[in-house]
Amino acid sequence: MTLSQEIITIAVCALGTMATRFLPFLIFRSDKPTPKYIQYLGKALPAAIFGMLIIYCLKNVNLLAGDHGLAEGIAIAAVIVIHLWKRQMLLSIAVGTIGYMLLKQLVF
């Protein structure tokens, strides 16, 4: 990619992001009540979307070869256990990431 192609790519991504952030405010003006269906989606979607984002992060894990996703499985289990125990976002992320790096670099 040339520099201008890189700038266009980044600008397009910024525009796409802005579209998703501004659109609800442009469609559902503050002087009218929000449709019930949209209100329902706003409450039901976040949990589903976060689940999807986890799978998105793991999409290149090969269960049939290499370590069969064992490093990811162990690291995610560690994140869950530590987060349920301490409820400290930073600690859970730090332990999981450092643990995963050690597993990938030294064990698998």
Binding site: A48, L53, H83, Q88, M89, K104
Partner: protein
Amino acid sequence: MHTNENILTTKKQSASLLALKTAFPYTIPIFAGFWFLGLTYGIYMNVSGFSFWYPFFMSLTIFGGSLEFVVVNLLLGSFNPLQALAMSLMIQARHLFYGISMLDKFKGTGWKKCYLIFGMCDETFSINYSAQIPAQVDRGWFMFWVTVLNQIYWVSGSTIGGLVGSVLTFNTEGLDFAMTALFVVIFLEQWLKEKSHWTALIGLAASVLCLFLFGADDFLIPSMMLILGALTLLRKPLEQKEGASL
């Protein structure tokens, strides 16, 4: 003795200052998290061959961690702005629902509203949506400072990561797992908050199914459509089941 004008100015200054003082403690965990993730992202960009200007400008203009990680791969591939637009709309589509949740809360915030919407990333949304703002603190200024502080943390973290990445000598393999861990934690927080877990399970199951059917490169759009379809079809039972929590 103050003149009326002086009193007004002082009041305005103290409203913004009080809001800053109230907002700052809420953002401390985000400071830690964003510096860690921002540094990771900056280092990731650096080891991928980009100067610190890239994470700086991307954090300033896009200000969305998950997409910025993905853009690194887009920049390494061939030029395809339509794909970049589709990717950003898909990955960021969840902001549509943050916006829907903030329609009321952003009312009456005046000129700040534009920036509040611009800077509404996952973490800023979470704080501004859930914080119990004391009655004497101006709501608009509070949310404004949360947004400003979080963006400062993210931009500075990723820029520093981009700068120090070149002098780092340790093996960074696996560092990108920080993003997976972040989403696991956010997912878990959401899970603990909800009485019924059907929507979370629908998200996981639909994504796994589509990943299996469509493969790693093409599963995101079908997943979102399947999730939207399932939530629409199951609206009645889900609303009944989750009642107040939904």
